[in-house]
């Protein structure tokens, strides 16, 4: 049943407690786990979605926000097709750390990686970062921007769908190596965006 056309790797980063795991759980399993513990190291989820009638498989690597795991999480950036940088709209420090995160992404990730800034927890009453501040920041650094609520399932589906659509667009015009089911996932899947000349059709 390996009938999907594309495989994309999506990595979530951001400070501890901004809701990365909850976003992933909401998207992949449709639930909001109350009292979710801190992620250790890296967690892995998979979800297949349909874009324009074609199946797209998303490999989602959910990283730990805690600083002590930074070195192992960095090693997952490299092969990512999309990086979702998450902050908590009700917590100024998580927003203040964004430049540090960008520096890390700059250093460890592929330079053509798709970058999305996400302000999570829109359900919270005590908002600290207005929407336009986040938007400004995203625009300045050439990132997509979205505000979400994993709790209310707001914009979560849209977030991942847009990533899938965008990556597929990229794949079609920039010759992203196509995921060819017959060759298997272990075949040349590490080639990153743009460094392969293999055509889609």
């Amino acid at each position: 049943m390996e009938d999907y056309k594309f495989l994309f790797k999506v990595v979530l980063v951001g400070n501890a407690g901004v809701g990365k795991t909850c976003l992933v759980r909401r998207f992949t399993q449709g639930l909001f786990p109350p009292g979710q513990g801190a992620t250790i190291g890296v967690d892995f989820m998979i979800k297949t979605v349909e874009v324009d009638g074609e199946k797209v498989k998303l490999q989602i690597w959910d990283t730990a926000g805690q600083e002590r795991f930074r070195s192992i999480t960095q090693s997952y950036y490299r092969s990512a097709h999309a990086l979702i940088l998450v902050y908590d709209i009700s917590c100024q420090p998580t927003f203040d750390c964004l430049p540090d995160w960008l520096r890390e992404i700059e250093e460890y990730a592929n330079n053509k990686v798709l970058r999305i800034l996400v302000g999570n927890k829109t359900d919270r009453e005590d908002r600290e970062i207005p929407r336009h501040i986040g938007e400004d920041f995203a625009q300045r650094h050439g990132m997509y921007f979205l505000e979400t609520s994993a709790k209310e399932a707001e914009n979560v589906e849209r977030l991942f769908m847009e990533i899938a659509v965008e990556l597929m667009e990229q794949a079609k015009c920039k010759e992203l190596p196509k995921y060819d089911g017959s060759l298997g996932p272990i075949n040349g899947k590490t080639t990153s965006v743009g460094d392969s000349s293999c055509c889609l059709r």
């Binding site: 190291g41 890296v42 690597w61 002590r68 192992i72 092969s79 272990i186």
Partner: protein
């Protein structure tokens, strides 16, 4: 015929029709490919049941006989399993996986290649599911696959998904701890499998690349560090069965490190160091020590020093993210402690340049630590230095003895020489004392057999040079180094305090060997005169005096023999004399010198069979005990309450007498020629066995130079003693470009001050000293005059150069013209 045919034809049509229809119904069908039917048959009707064994045998037989079908079988099994995963029929998934395992094991390796692709797709599919049971199952299959040796390498196969996923599993945070441990264990097993599969084959994926190592190594360490008691993991094969993740992680790390070649060591070590920084595992450092021990013991022995090297380079690296300098220093100290724990393991296998490189690196770190230390006061920095010095000691301890000497030479050459007069910076002094401490630590690991081996000429010279300068404490340290190198029979602890009662001490005395005698006859003078000069410094504390006493006592014991006794006694007498006449010494120092000289003299008859000398010494001791107990050991810090009439110089009859000693020795049948000859200590060049000029001696003894002036047998020439005259290189440096340059530049302010002080002391002495003494001092001038006359006479006797005029007698003219003969007679004067 034709209707018959028709019937058959129709029948065939009907059959094929029915077959086609049954196929559509999804039932078992004759027209499906044979392999598909075989595959379908291995599944039981009920997913709870087990694999149908007999049908599985058929499938295996089929794939063995027609291996070309194997890849299609694999693909079909995979598709079935994918569907079953989607429908959550896990029972069938497990059966499909089991079947693939069996096929994998049963089939010949050359046919496996294509099947393996389906197999790995299957494993990945299972790993992607959220069900822990399926993930664990997939890992087991993967491990089974990893243990199969493939003939044909598969260049295109990639393992990065597996590395990523297995690493993620190693960090599992499942709510149920039992399941969590199972998943983590599976993750480690999976990583082990990947390592086994890739490490030996250069053609497949390079597992040593940073992107893999950055995942594998922290995952293993994370599982090791969560173990409660990692000290007890040493027993590897314990209960079998379910191993706790920590134990397996450790075994896996051992395997990984053990397989690393030289070029790959760094790629393993870098993530290890980063992990310790990130997780702040340096303090407390038992886990770090434990881990590095594991690395050291599993690494291929010839590479072990590169671990030391890596850790050393990491000493100074910014620890984690704490900007607090105090915390950084503590981390640094903890790292150094880890280093000192592992460095010994590397020592055994280090050879050649790597040894010196390690030592050099440690010394560099020490130096930068001292530099930091002098900037800001930190006690933690001290801990760091201690740890580094310990590392140095541990390392040296495991080297062969001949290398220890090399290392000591190396260290002693790094000691900054603090010129007398200019005080040197505080940092220099600290560095000096720290390097000497390191030297002492290395020295304690050395077992002296032969003195000549322990003290190669260059080393001895460097040591003595270092000992001539520096702070009192540093000089005492240097003596301690000499103690540890001289003391072959563990006598040093008993000789720490001066004493006259040697019988009670239980010293071990053996006869001195031939080689040692040769050694002392070669280097004795340098050694003795350096010790003598060491005693003449006004900055000496009691610690210094006692340390030199111990050194001399050890020399007596180690080298006491008929050949050396004269030299030793001569030195003792010189010390006694300087204690009377050296005006820079305080009363306490004078008394201390008297005490140690008598106590050394008392040691000689204890070492050698000289009963009459013993009696003589004991008579003096007894007399002193009556009249002047302050001239006997034990030494005291101060002798303030001393009555002027009890000053050592007022009690000449309590001193050892040269003539008496000569007589005693002569009676014992010892050649006393050298003893009765004029003493080389404090004396001019005439008595010195080699060119040890007055200038040098004076410089070495610094402002204490008046001691020489006061010595009775001193030969003075007016040029040297005239205080105002500046001799080039007055500080007594060796001839070097630097020295020449300095000489050309004139005396430095410090030197000028020094000269000033010397002049002042001299004037003072001439003003205050008793007339007799002055007479005595000035006496030799006449000798010089005689000598000059003699020289001039000899010049006239020598045939003159034809060009220099015919027959002019000794006089002004020939004096001016014939410089060369002059240089011949006074080579010293023309040195600079």
């Amino acid at each position: 015929m034709s209707p018959m045919r028709k019937i058959i034809h129709r029948a065939c049509f009907v059959v094929s029709r029915t077959v086609y229809m049954t196929c559509c119904c999804g039932c078992c069908s004759a027209l499906r490919p044979h392999y598909k039917r075989l595959v379908d048959n291995i599944f039981p009707a009920n997913p709870q049941d087990e694999l149908v064994k007999s049908n599985m045998e058929k499938l295996t037989y089929y794939s063995l006989t027609s291996p070309e079908k194997l890849d299609r079988i694999g693909e079909y099994l995979f598709q079935k399993a994918s569907r079953d995963i989607y429908r959550r029929r896990h029972g069938f998934v497990i059966i499909a996986m089991e079947a693939m395992d069996q096929l994998l094991v049963a089939c010949h390796s050359q046919t496996l290649n294509l099947f393996v692709e389906s197999f790995l797709k299957m494993v990945q599919k299972l790993l992607e599911s959220t069900d822990p049971q399926l993930q664990i199952l997939a890992t087991q299959s993967f491990v089974r696959f990893a243990n199969i040796e493939e003939d044909t390498p598969s260049y295109h196969r990639r393992y990065d998904f597996f590395v990523s996923k297995f690493s993620a599993m190693c960090h599992s945070n499942h709510a149920d701890t039992v399941t969590r441990d199972k998943i983590r264990l599976a993750g480690i097993q999976g990583l082990q499998g990947v390592i086994r599969k890739t490490v030996s084959d250069d053609l497949v994926e390079n597992i040593w690349e940073a992107q893999h190592m950055d995942k594998i190594v922290p995952s293993l360490l994370y599982n090791m560090q969560t173990a409660e008691k990692y000290e007890t993991v040493s027993c590897m094969e314990g209960g079998g069965g379910a191993e706790p993740p920590a134990r397996l992680a450790e075994a896996c790390l051992r395997e990984l490190v053990g397989r690393a070649s030289f070029g790959h060591i760094r790629s393993v070590l870098r993530p290890v160091l980063t992990h310790f920084d990130r997780h702040e595992l340096w303090i407390p450092n038992d886990f770090a020590v434990h881990t590095f021990m594991i690395i050291m013991f599993s690494i291929q022995a010839q590479y072990s020093y590169s671990v030391v090297e890596a850790l050393m380079q990491h000493l100074d690296a910014a620890g984690g993210h704490s900007a607090d300098p105090r915390a950084r220093t503590r981390v640094r100290a903890a790292r150094a402690t880890v280093l000192s724990n592992i460095v010994a393991i590397a020592a055994g296998d280090s050879v050649g340049p790597s040894v010196l490189e390690i030592i050099n690196n440690l010394l560099t770190n020490l130096r930068s630590s001292v530099a930091r230390d002098s900037e800001q006061k930190e006690t933690d920095e001290k801990l760091y230095q201690e740890a580094l010095i310990n590392a140095l000691k541990e390392f040296a301890d495991h080297l062969p003895d001949f290398q220890k000497i090399d290392i000591m030479m190396f260290i002693v050459n790094k000691v900054p020489s603090i010129q007398r007069g200019n005080k040197g910076t505080k940092a220099d002094a600290m560095l000096q004392s720290i390097l000497l401490k390191s030297l002492l630590k290395v020295g304690t690991t050395y077992r002296t057999v032969e003195l000549s081996k322990a003290f190669p000429a260059a080393f001895l010279e460097a040591l003595l040079r270092a000992g001539g300068a520096g702070e009192a404490h540093a000089r005492a340290l240097l003596q301690r180094i000499l103690h540890t190198l001289l003391d072959r029979r563990d006598n040093a602890p008993r000789l720490l305090r001066a004493s006259v009662e040697y019988a009670e001490l239980g010293l071990t005395v053996e006869k001195c060997s031939r080689q040692d005698l040769i050694f002392i006859s070669k280097h004795g003078y340098a050694l003795f005169s350096s010790l003598y000069e060491g005693l003449q410094l006004e900055s000496n504390t009691m610690e210094n005096v006692e340390a030199i006493y111990t050194t001399l006592a050890l020399i007596c014991i180690e080298l006491g023999s008929e050949e050396t006794v004269c030299d030793i006694l001569q030195l003792i007498l010189a010390i006694q004399q300087s204690g009377l006449t050296n005006p820079v010494l305080s009363v306490a120092q004078q008394c201390q010198l008297q005490a140690i000289s008598i106590s050394l003299a008392a040691l000689i008859p204890h070492v050698m069979m000289l009963p009459r000398l013993g009696e003589y010494i004991h008579k003096i001791i007894a007399a002193r005990r009556e009249e002047a107990p302050h001239l006997l050991p034990p030494l005291r810090e101060d002798y303030d309450d001393l009555h002027p009439s009890k000053m050592p110089s007022k009690l000449p009859y309590l001193m050892m007498d040269l003539m008496a000693l000569c007589e005693l020795l002569k009676a014992a049948g010892i050649e006393v020629g050298r003893l009765s000859a004029s003493s080389p200590y404090a004396a001019g060049s005439a008595a010195a066995p080699h060119r040890h000029s007055w200038v040098e001696a004076g410089a070495a003894a610094g402002r204490d130079s008046l001691a020489e002036l006061a010595a009775p047998t001193t030969e003075l020439d007016s040029a040297n003693s005239s205080p105002g005259l500046q001799r080039a290189g007055g500080a007594g440096e060796a001839v070097s470009l630097e020295a020449l340059r300095r000489a050309a530049g004139g005396p430095s302010p410090a030197e000028r001050r020094d000269a000033e002080r010397r002049r002042a002391t001299l004037n003072n002495a001439f003003r205050t000293a008793p007339f007799d003494q002055l007479l005595h001092i000035t006496q030799p001038k006449y000798e010089i005059k005689d000598k000059l006359e003699e020289i001039f006479n000899s010049i006239t006797e020598e045939p003159l150069l034809p060009a220099s005029g015919s027959c002019s007698p000794a006089g002004q003219k020939s004096y001016q013209q014939n410089v060369p003969p002059y240089t011949k007679y006074f080579p010293e004067l023309f040195l600079y």
